[in-house]
Amino acid sequence: MAITIKFFASLREQVGKSEVQIELSDSLTVGEVWAQVCDNSPLPIHILMAVNKEYSKQDTRVQDGDEVAFFPPVTGG
């Protein structure tokens, strides 16, 4: 299964990439996707996560074709 991973703002700069596509043989949780793409580094404390443009938890399970996003606390408005 193929999923797309996006990073935004300061997190994008820390991770050093804005978008990654990966192929998985098993279904993973959002937290496991982070570990796989970020060399098993721990999930940052205040990180926010989304699956298909809706907020998710780190134990949300991703499906084939999903878009997973990681980003820092928001500061708009």
Binding site: H46, K53, E54, P72, T75, G76, G77
Partner: protein, 142 residues
């Protein structure tokens, strides 16, 4: 109901005037509460020269649409408007406009406050400030 993400400078009062003209409910509303957020030239003790506002295309719009629908369900209001700036912004320029039209003032105020509070705490926007010493993101994942 309107949600707009805009990448160029906008005048909040002209937007309000233009949007209000499209409302079919002329004479049906008695109260409009609005909030306008403007870029300050200072923040946390530093002089800020400019700002860059990043968003998550698709998710931001979806979030603000859902937020507006929630406000329309939760309060006795007639219409809402949200416009949010992205990209390069200079001090004095408008960052965000939120407005709620209602029959009476309590739901207008409460839903307007709800919209801006939720927008600020949950809508995927991120500010990067340009100071004399360089740039800084306003929030980071620790």
């Amino acid at each position: 109901m309107k949600v707009e993400i805009i990448s160029k400078i906008f005048n909040p009062w002209e937007e309000l005037q233009a949007y209000e003209k499209t409302l079919i409910a002329q004479g049906k509303y008695g109260a409009v509460a609005t909030f306008v957020g403007t870029m300050r030239d200072y923040n946390e003790g530093d002089i800020v020269q400019a700002m860059f506002l990043e968003h998550y295309p698709g998710m931001t719009e979806k979030y603000l649409q859902t937020l507006s629908e929630t406000a329309l369900q939760r309060w006795d209001i007639l219409d809402t408007l949200i416009i949010h700036r992205i990209g390069e912004i200079k001090p004095g320029e408008t960052i965000v406009l939120v407005a709620a039209w209602a029959g009476h003032r309590a739901p207008a105020f409460e839903s307007c406050r709800f919209l801006i509070d939720e927008l600020k705490s949950r809508a995927p926007f991120w500010k990067q400030e340009t100071l004399s010493e360089g740039v800084r993101w306003l929030d980071q994942c620790h």
